[in-house]
Amino acid sequence: MSSNPAISINHVSKLFHKQNQRTFKELIPALFGGKKVVESFWALKDIDLEIKKGETIGIIGPNGSGKSTLLKLIAGVSQPTKGEIKTNGRIAPLIELGAGFHPELTGRENVFLNGIILGMTRAEVSEKFKKIVDFAEIWDFIDQPVKHYSSGMYLRLAFAVAIHTEPEILLIDEILAVGDAAFQAKCFKKMDEFKQKKVTIIYVSHAIESVKSFCDKVLYIDHSQMMGFGESEEVINKYIEGMGVIK
């Protein structure tokens, strides 16, 4: 296999400037009053790891530990304050599914819109359109505005579009926790297919069991720091211990 890593994260830190004043009305008195205008905190500190092509990595950690920030950095929507991130291959973020959907547009229109947002060409979407709608099982409603969809249908369609972009890197953030059991099963089946196809998968979840069974390696983050990275079993045990101490 190629030695080229899919994602290399090189001593990455992310500083957030939290500004409490969002309007001039708040900002101007604060400036004159000598109040602290910007509060900073490190959302990630010195994360350093390499993810090889075809690996499935679970990211675990308590709420607010920096997991989603790391995903954003990998997706390229946010820039690291220190260090650098290199990614290799088309990324499909399965984060906040349907973010690009417009409620007034029909399912069909949204499939094209979202497919192109995710980096497909119009021709590619046309070609895969049948497969996408088949996967979402939504043929009866495809020409209805998506605002009339149930949340399950909405999710299925968004998921279907995202996985048909032929990603090389798949970012998954908790989404599999939503949707009914049948849909979840279907998603995991699809994930397994991706795994077989050597797609690199980053899977953020609180569901320890599914991380354990699904991922090759696990990254454990707490308080913005890397607490462990390696074999699933080992890191997960460390995580459970860590949580136990807090309780």
Binding site: F16, H17, Q19, R22, T23, F24, K25, L27, K72, A75, G76, V77, S78, Q79, I91, P93, I95, E96, A99, G100, H102, E104, L105, E109, F112, L113, I116, I117, L118, G119, T121, R122, P145
Partner: protein
Amino acid sequence: MKIFKEYRELLAELTKREIKARYKQSVLGYAWVILNPFFQMLVMAFVFSKILRVTNLSVPYALFLYVGLLPWNLFAASISSSMNSLVGNGSLLTKIYFPREVFVVSAILAKIVDFLLASIVLVVFFVFFHQQVTINIFWVVPIFLIQQLFTYGLSLMLAAFNLFYRDIQYLFGLILLTWMYLTPVIYPTEMFPEQYRWIFKLNPMAVFINAYRQVMLGGGMPNLSSLGIALLLSIVMVVSGYHIFKRLEGMFADVV
């Protein structure tokens, strides 16, 4: 400029979304794009030709007004819409990366489509009033392009700032209103007090609107020195707007 090639389909799709989604739940649908400025013009034409009389025009006031009102509306609508384009697409900003100016460009493109449709009424007016045109009417194209350059530069700046402080959009609502009165949209330049007329020289929108009138209604050439200054200003605007936008771009997903 690269984005027009590389992200052509994305631009087209986002522009289409903008256009399609807007009038989805209305009976007349997209006809509003034509009806709105038309009725706006009717009301204004009544007020300014029957009540507060604008006189000494060589063309009917309705025609005079519409030639200025359409490009002004395009400018104002483009600015307002692109100012909100980043805020409105916040969920996409935090999810997937592509050059963020795509949002601004597609917001402006959607307004240009509106403008072209609304211009149909203007063509009808020209026929109705038997307005003669000369070859100089083709100047409309470069004037329009310079106007878009200016609009794009300003939009980039405002869209980025508005993401950090939403005050920008409210403040700019006021500025746009003032700006319109300081631009010869509803009145001819000649009615403006002579000692203040230098304002028009610094106001690219005034230059554009005077130029449109000159080439469409007057049949002459535009004032090339004014247009040259406006072009220069527009280029400065685009370069600095783009620069600011790109510098702030990395922070968009963190502040939205």
